[in-house]
């Protein structure tokens, strides 16, 4: 996993889908469509988003389309995990989707709410940090103060993973867009 940090996210995703246990697992798909039948987003979007086509594209080496074009858009997955439970072949859709999302994040193709949430964790140690108005409410309710965490330690741990670079590059991209 560490090695993928410095190489093209699409190529490294392709490696993950071919030479690994996950790649072997992916090959078990025989296109029965159970996943797409049970997927609520496929129902609502009339198949525009559907898990079966994502698995098919992953199996046939179309990582570029999944990550660079987001067609279908993996971020439309609502993570209900129904497909994961229902797949008769035991394909690990949960993990396949996560790998595509992580690669898309490295490709800077990620909705803003995801990176801003992760950035909150980086800065405050929590996705929803403590705030004065809520502390007041906690006191009113007779609750103890929201327990503090070691923010520096969390920052240090995040510095050992690829995320620091992802957040930095996305910030850079946003600044450039603003300047233009």
């Amino acid at each position: 996993m560490e090695k993928s940090e410095n190489i093209n996210p699409i190529e490294s995703l392709h490696d993950e889908f071919t030479d690994t246990i996950l790649g072997t697992n992916l090959n078990l798909c025989y296109n029965c469509s159970t996943c797409s039948t049970i997927c609520p987003v496929a129902l609502e979007t009339e198949g525009h988003f559907n898990p079966r086509s994502i698995i098919l594209l992953a199996n046939f080496g179309h990582e570029n389309r999944l990550v660079a074009d987001l067609v279908p858009n993996v971020w439309d997955c609502t993570m209900c995990e129904l497909c994961q439970e229902a797949c008769p072949e035991g394909v690990n859709l949960h993990e396949v989707f996560l790998r595509i999302k992580n690669a898309s994040a490295r490709f800077q193709n990620i909705p803003k709410s995801y990176t801003s949430e992760t950035n909150q964790v980086y800065i405050f140690g929590k996705a929803v940090p403590s705030q004065p108005v809520i502390e007041k409410r906690r006191k009113q309710l007779g609750l103890p103060e929201s327990p503090e965490t070691n923010v520096e330690e969390i920052k240090k741990l995040m510095g050992m993973t690829p995320v620091e670079k992802i957040l930095l590059e996305i910030e850079k991209k946003e600044n450039t867009a603003e300047a233009e």
Binding site: P40, C80, E81, T118, A127, S146
Partner: protein, 303 residues
């Protein structure tokens, strides 16, 4: 059921993992949970946990960060020597799934352990994690809950929304029936209320989908609300803060998107238990709900 001697041996000290949404946005839910577990004779300890971190937001951004910060939280509880009780589906999923990954992949464990050691921590994979519903249903049991009910919720028609991450992915969560979870409804019934089945009970709250596709999220929520309205339920009972927020705020979105009027109070299961255990609505902060349950509950004799 456990015999009396077994009851004596039960662990009654837990680290409370309230999660940052409950702690820092909707703390009245934490209040009801503390009230309930205290009544049941449990001691909940605070610990310096960070974000779980969120299995949707953070895991989707970077798996390694999610794994490492999750392991840090598990390490903190291992040191305090308490199991974790979580009030949130998402936190439960992260903590259980990180535990699962570390137990099943030596490669990941070695990487994560090295990072933890670099900040003076260590994790030996012994921390046990439970969702509060699991603790109530499996360890404490429905009989014990019934014993403590002083104001039964008789006559109230309650629809459960369990939420996806409570029981799925099942290989990591290992609780209840993963596709048709039943424990939350059992608890609602133990309080004397009527559990109402509705067609879209298993439909996701679509909180994750709403981050990228508001139209699809609204469309699915409309199906969910319509099905609840058709069932005649008066209250939606939840056990996840993301679902709570989505199902409360979503009612306003229905007005905006479809001119559809939905006004059904959303209550946390711990709030319902606290009521039945004798808490007053002001004790546990019912006024902080966006859709106020107060008028309805007064009609049923609650104060």
């Amino acid at each position: 059921m456990a015999s009396d001697s077994n009851t004596e041996l039960k662990i009654k000290d837990y680290d409370l993992f309230a999660g940052c949404t409950i702690q820092n946005r909707i703390p009245f839910i934490e209040k009801s949970a503390r009230f309930v577990f205290e009544k049941l004779g449990y001691t909940l300890h605070d610990n310096s946990f960070g974000c779980c971190p969120d299995p949707v937001g953070v895991q989707s951004t970077d798996y390694q960060t999610w794994l490492t910060l999750g392991a840090r939280n598990l390490a903190l509880s291992e040191k305090s020597n308490h199991p974790i009780v979580s009030l949130c589906n998402g936190c439960t999923e992260t903590l259980k799934a990180v535990n699962y990954e570390l137990k099943h992949s030596d490669k990941e464990y070695i990487i994560v352990q090295k990072r933890l050691e670099a900040v003076g921590k260590t994790y030996s994979k012994t921390t046990e994690v439970k969702h509060f519903i699991e603790l109530l249903h499996e360890d404490i049991g429905l009989e014990k809950i019934k014993e403590l009910v002083v104001k039964p919720l008789t006559g109230l028609k309650i629809a459960n929304h369990v939420g996806c991450h409570y029981s799925r992915p099942s290989k990591m969560m290992q609780v209840d029936d993963p596709m048709h979870p039943r424990f939350p409804a059992d608890i609602v019934e133990a309080l004397g209320a009527t559990h109402i089945d509705y067609e879209e009970e298993n439909l996701c709250c679509t909180s994750a989908l709403a981050r990228n596709n508001e139209d699809a999220s609204n469309g699915l929520m409309r199906r969910k609300y319509q099905s609840i309205i058709d069932s005649g339920a008066q209250i939606i009972a939840v056990n996840c803060p993301s679902c709570y927020q989505q199902l409360e705020v979503g009612q306003r979105s229905m007005k905006k998107a479809f001119n559809m009027i939905v006004k059904i109070p959303v209550l946390y299961i711990t709030e319902l238990i606290a009521l039945a255990f004798g808490a007053s609505m002001s004790d546990i902060g019912f006024k902080f709900h966006q859709i106020k349950p107060i008028k309805l509950l007064k009609e049923y004799g609650f104060e």
